[in-house]
Amino acid sequence: MENYVYIALFAPLAGSLFAALFGDKPKTLLTGIVTSLLLFVSWYASIKLLGYIDEEHIIHVKMMDWIAAGNFNVDFGFVADQVSVIMMVTVTTVSTLVHVYSIGYMDHDKGFNRYFSYLSAFVFSMMILVMSDNFLGLFIGWEGVGLCSWLLIGFWYHKKDVPTSENPAISPAYAANEAFVMNRIADLGMLIGIFMIYWNLGSLEYDTVFANIGSLDGATITMIGVFLFIGAMGKSAQFPLHTWLANAMEGPTPVSALIHAATMVTAGVYLVIRSHDIYMLIPNVGYFIACLGAFVAVFAASMALVNLELKRIIAYSTLSQLGYMFVAAGLGAYWIALFHLMTHAFFKSVLFLGAGNVMHAMDDEKYIDKMGGLAKVMPWTMRIMTVASLALAGIWPFAGFFSKDKILETAFAQNHYFLWALLWIGAGMTAYYSFRLIMLVFFGEERYKKFGFHPHEAYPYVLLAMAPLAILAIIAGFFEHSFMHFVTQLLPEYEPHVSKGTFIFLLVVTLGIAISGITLAVVKFSKGNFDEFFKKLGVYDVLINQYHIPDFYQRAICEPYAKLSEFAWKKIDMRIVDATVDFIAGVIYKSGDKARAMQTGNLSTNLKWMALGFVVLLAAALFYRPGM
């Protein structure tokens, strides 16, 4: 069984290296096929492990010693337990299908081989992240996914940077750097958390750390929890480090589906779930996480209400759903958070892939106000995206209903009525913006004709690659009970306790707001553009400008920082550092120039200098006595 662990982990790496061999060559279909096949192998191994692992059978392998310096020992070890195997299956399922989808999507791209190399490298890093048995390995995977995310957001790095007045979206290269820098800030927090764990417990292995964490005093545990969560906030794009995720949509769409919806951004949630032994000891931090999550759930959803960029809407929706997961994790319902993570991965990735189909058909047009009426030409994409949107909105019997409803129920059962209300409003918004998108893209007036687009349905195999995800988006919710039994072998058991009446009340109210959101969007948008309503309300400007937060960051952080850098460059570096170095060089140069005069070429003069030197050395030897 250990071999399955290795196969699951290293098959993507093999694929990545294989594709990298052809990196600078023009498109070779082989790379796409080989990486997809290896991903399939990895998926198969993960499924095998899923079937094998239970309470008695947890696979823990030590591949080799990694770092051994003094008392500091870290093994290169991997663990396949209930949590990591769920993550492995989710990651490999989505990534295998995204690989196949990408063969079609990147069909005409010059960087085809390079793309597959990066994509498989991402999966490998993600597998390290979820399978590592210690915090350092997790951190390596954490940085690895960050790197691959940077490479893939900036995949079309050759696109020019244009001022925001011309194009409100930014260039891929800028977006990639923004994501990278934003994540560095958070990673510093996480690194401090890891240092503190080692400092206080002398080990980084999960087993040891979690067994001994209770021996620390409360303040230290709180600090560790807070710092680790700062890391999670960056990776999962929680407020105030959220701006990078919407801009990351400049990357290819399958990348958004895999990295910025299904896997990487959920790494923060995974970290909190994995460290539940720490967070259970500090309920205050947990409550803060839940509050932040609920805030983000509404905050991000509100930005999605009016946005016109197809992928940005879905990106905000991802943000909002990550907020839901953090609410569950913060309130101690870890298995529910993991469950929502899994179902979200399925329906959100397929939603993104559908958006990819639409954009591909529309020559990479991303504004939904130029689309409309596409259902006629792209019936299957429409159906798949509608299913995914229903799942996202949380309509029975789709996957999102089961997981999201559980989160709301948890908030209610723990008497956090305010959190519950926020989430409830968020659910309504989710339903509204999902169907606003569907309506604007697929129904109504065929605006694309005005702009001269000739959309077409995607290749059949592309649709076929989306089908399993769409099916999972429909049925994944029914695995709720077996899922719960499986992961609560490791995670703390949690069941929201509400009376039968309250349960039904919650069910009706939640479904009610979701359905009314959908109805509102469908009814209003079938009559024309409903966005005018928001413009009249006056909130439109605030929402479309993302609450002016990017502007604020630009003015309050980027510009002063640029000024500071310029000051440091022009004043400190050029005037002080450079000047000092130049001065020393000048002295040496000038003294050399002056001393050249003694080289007359006359042997007699040289001998005199030699004699003088001898006398000086003799004098030095006489007068300088070290140690006296």
């Binding site: 070429g601 006359n602 007699s604």
Partner: protein, 100 residues
């Protein structure tokens, strides 16, 4: 009674004479003489100190220096003859080719 000091003073005087010769003289041949004087000043010093401490090492080094001086003179005189054949003079001023 001749003491170690006398020998060392003699050695110092000889060395100074040699050094003055190296600095002042323009004739290459006399430059060699001066060098020899300096080397032998060192020899006197070695031999005297060797005797004073009853240690043979000083005299051994003196012999070494004599041997090295002999070979150095042989090579030096050879070059000198060559120089004379080429330029017809052994004046130090004729060697100005190292001017930077």
């Amino acid at each position: 009674m001749i003491t170690l000091t006398h020998y060392l003073v003699l050695s110092a005087i000889l060395f100074s004479i040699g050094l003055a010769g190296v600095i002042r003289r323009k004739n290459l041949l006399l430059l060699f003489f001066s060098t020899e004087i300096m080397l032998n000043a060192a020899n006197i010093g070695f031999a005297a100190i060797g005797k004073f401490y009853g240690d043979l090492t000083g005299q051994m080094v003196a012999f070494f220096i004599i041997a090295v001086a002999a070979s150095e003179v042989a090579v030096g005189l050879g070059l000198l003859v060559l120089w004379y054949k080429r330029t017809g003079t052994i004046d130090l001023e004729s060697m100005q080719e190292m001017k930077g």
